[in-house]
């Protein structure tokens, strides 16, 4: 199962290396990793997407949690959340396909952000599935170059990921099994 782990980390040199190194040496494959500023100065937020079972995910979270520069860790796969991915896609756009490209952009909500003599660059932001489907439709026109930012994620509703003392319930999965 795909898990979007969110980590609030101290904005210090080497922290990204510590996090990435942890995933490497514990043999977890990172699907995407994004880092950016938060509302608080000195604190960055990482969104790390991994494809892993629940037990391994809890284990890697416990490892993350142990890093001195990591302040808070959460698995957003557990809660309804807003997920966004952004892609810039440079598509081949000869005279005959230009109209088709613009129609796809129009239908999917992609923005034209640049155009050249033979290409048009579009930007698409949305749920990763939506971005996937747009890419799929553009592929037949010929994608010259593409970049995706990777997932960013936030829990829906009033709840917020705060820096307060996080508590790990290590027996959560067992309890769920017992209830089932």
């Amino acid at each position: 199962m795909r898990h979007a782990l969110v980590a609030l980390v101290e904005d210090k040199p080497g922290v990204l290396n510590r996090v990435a190194s942890l995933f490497r040496r514990r043999a977890f494959n990172i699907e995407s990793l994004t880092v950016g500023h938060t509302e608080q100065k000195g604190i960055s937020r990482m969104t790390i997407v991994i494809d892993s079972d629940q037990t391994s995910t809890e284990r890697v979270m416990a490892h993350l949690y142990k890093l001195v520069n990591v302040l808070q860790v959460a698995d957003l796969a557990k809660a309804p959340s807003v997920n966004r991915d952004l892609a810039l896609i440079k598509v081949q756009a000869e005279k005959e396909t230009r109209a088709q490209l613009l129609r796809i952009a129009d239908e999917t909500g992609a923005q034209v952000v640049d155009s050249g003599e033979k290409t048009i660059t579009v930007e698409i932001t949305g749920e990763p599935d939506h971005v996937d489907s747009v890419i799929g439709r553009l592929q037949m026109l010929g994608i010259i170059e593409m970049v995706r930012t990777g997932l960013v994620s936030m829990v829906r509703g009033d709840e917020a990921l705060l820096l307060s003392e996080a508590h790990f319930d290590f027996n959560s999965e067992k309890k769920k099994e017992n209830q089932d």
Binding site: E10, G14, N17, R25, T55, R59, Y65, V68, N171, K174
Partner: protein, 572 residues
């Protein structure tokens, strides 16, 4: 008052209560060594930086306090890597301080520049690069705090030469340490505690697995009370040895790859495992698929990342072992498991005793004899045994009966050959009143034998018992069992250890048969200064029982009687 970075470093160390630093000077740490002369610190000059880290480690394990190792940049720092990884695997609190090239050269491949924080990232609990004199004190205070709290471990602080040289107006920092992302302590949830108690009371065939955490959290009394009240037998991990006296009726002995058969059978047949401060290492579990497959499992562990790592457990109580046992104890009812205990006792029979008795002791010398006799001759004194890694280490664990905690120091997790002698020197500094014996193989001793000179220079009294079988014994044993006795690169020559000792101005002794053991051990005890004893033991002796790597825990290779290889070799 105006202070340089180097002075601030020593002021901070002195304020941390540090008395000994094990180290080796060099270019990038020169300002710090210069300032050291003005502070009440005893510096132990090692012969190789690996030795410094093992000494700091041995010091930490013997004293329970943080050990400090120091080295210069580049090769000085990289030589520390093995010792840091050793301390990491065995949760030993050490702080390593390394000099680094001046900050303006960082990243330019300057002379003796190595990215040591990068190199040691996966083998330290945390590490720091300090380029600013104003950060030295705060960083060192954090380093000591991180090293000693929670699950202890090594912390490395790399300080650039210019930060050591720069000065500022200095006032000691007494503010509390602020590390918002560091949460060393956890509290088990009440519902989980209740669940654990329920499982304990329901169990018919429970076994406690006592690990290093018993010693690290100081839970010896709680373990004993718990085991006695609930009448649960206790199996020890290698690093847990000493957590319960070997003579205690509930102490089964060591578990795992070279654990006695009844211990491993008891684990496999149990219906409840109580893992106390241990991490289900592969040397302890064997094949995970068949490991205690009918047992419920309760794991009391300070490190959340150890939970469900190797073995999936039914209840995890994440917290300090001693505190958690104190919380559990009032709820534990006296239990009766006499049927289970008698069953284990029947499995036990008298195999271990018989083993020693059955070894021919006229004209022969077995490692088991040597260790048994050293035990007999040192058991009434306060003794610390420090081992190296290999066959002798396992024989020590089997035949030396440790009654007291912190009386065995050994490299468990990393299995670092060369650990023994330097770790013993560190242990002797920590507890000078204790008698320190190094039990070491001929292979491991030769890896760090240069530290004998350190012991001599420091006038340190350690007794070095070299279990000399002319092979890299444990590897030879694997070759005998699993590679058709093709001894590839395991036959090994030694120098004349008696002459080697004498070249150091020390006493060197040799033992070739059992009847000499007592006299020579007593002579070593009565001699001032370090003594090296060359025990010429049977060459093709093996450690039994043995669970082949990855095999089921109950599928042990048992002791042959008698050992054909050894007997024939001698009769020739």
């Amino acid at each position: 008052m105006q202070r340089t970075g180097a002075q601030i470093l020593w002021e901070t160390l002195v304020r941390q209560g540090i008395k000994y630093v094990f180290g080796y000077p060099g270019g990038a740490i020169l300002p710090t060594y210069d300032a050291m002369l003005d502070y009440p610190i005893h510096h132990v000059l090692v012969r190789h930086e690996q030795g410094a880290t093992h000494m700091a480690d041995g010091y930490a394990r013997a004293s329970g306090e943080v050990g400090v190792a120091m080295a210069t940049s580049g090769p000085g720092a990289t030589n520390m890597v093995t010792g840091i990884a050793t301390a990491m695997m065995d949760s030993s609190p050490i702080v390593c301080i390394t000099g680094q090239v001046s900050s303006k050269f960082l990243g330019y491949d300057a002379f003796q520049e190595t990215d040591v924080t990068g190199v040691t990232l996966p083998i330290t609990k945390h590490n720091y690069l300090v380029t600013d004199v104003g950060e030295i004190e705060r960083t060192l205070r954090e380093a000591f705090h991180i090293a000693r709290t929670g699950r202890p471990g090594p912390v490395l602080v790399d300080i650039t030469k210019d930060a050591q040289q720069a000065s500022l107006e200095y006032e000691p920092d007494t503010k509390p340490i602020r590390l918002p992302g560091y949460r060393p302590s956890h509290q088990p949830l009440l519902t989980d505690t209740e669940h654990a108690i329920e499982l304990i009371h329901k169990a018919k065939r429970p076994v406690i697995l006592a690990g290093h955490g018993v010693l690290m959290s100081g839970a010896m009394r709680e373990l004993r009370e718990f085991a006695e009240r609930a009448q649960i037998p206790v199996a020890m991990t290698l690093l847990g040895i000493g957590g319960l006296p070997a003579s205690h009726s509930l102490n089964l002995g060591m578990m795992g790859m070279h654990g006695e058969a009844w211990v491993n059978h008891a684990i496999q047949e149990s219906d409840l495992l109580l893992a106390f401060g241990m991490r289900f290492d592969d040397r302890v579990t064997g094949n995970l698929k068949s490991y205690a497959s009918n047992a419920r499992k309760i794991h009391i562990e300070i490190d959340p990342s150890e939970v469900n790592k190797n073995v999936k457990v039914d209840v995890a109580l994440v917290g300090d072992l001693r505190q958690t046992l104190q919380q559990l104890l009032p709820h534990i009812r006296p239990c009766d498991h006499s049927e289970w205990l008698e069953y284990i006792e029947r499995m036990k029979g008298d195999t271990a005793v018989r083993d020693i008795k059955n070894l021919p002791d006229y004209g022969h010398l077995y490692a088991a004899h040597v260790i048994h006799d050293i035990w007999q001759l040192t058991r009434d004194q306060e003794t610390i045994i420090v081992t190296d890694v290999g066959q002798h280490q396992m024989w020590e664990a089997q035949y030396y009966k440790h009654e007291k905690p912190f009386s065995l120091i050994t490299s468990g997790g990393l299995g670092t050959m060369g650990f023994g002698l330097p770790a013993a020197i560190g242990a002797k500094f920590a507890r000078p009143e204790a008698h320190v014996w190094v039990i070491v193989g001929d292979g491991g001793f030769q890896m760090t034998q240069a530290e004998l000179t350190t012991a001599t220079q420091e006038g340190i009294k350690v007794n070095v018992a070299i279990i000399n079988n002319g092979y890299l014994g444990m590897v030879r044993q694997w070759q005998e069992f699993f590679y058709g006795r093709r001894y590839s690169a395991t036959p090994m020559r030694s120098p004349d250890y008696v002459k080697l000792a004498e070249a150091h101005g020390l006493t060197g002794l040799r033992v070739t048969e059992r009847l000499q053991v007592e006299r020579i051990v007593r002579q070593a005890q009565d001699t001032d200064g370090a003594v090296v004893i060359d025990f010429r033991v049977e060459q093709e002796d093996s450690v039994y029982p043995m669970v082949p790597a990855g095999a089921d825990l109950h599928a042990m290779i048992r002791r042959p009687k008698p050992n054909a290889l050894v007997e024939t070799a001698v009769d020739k």
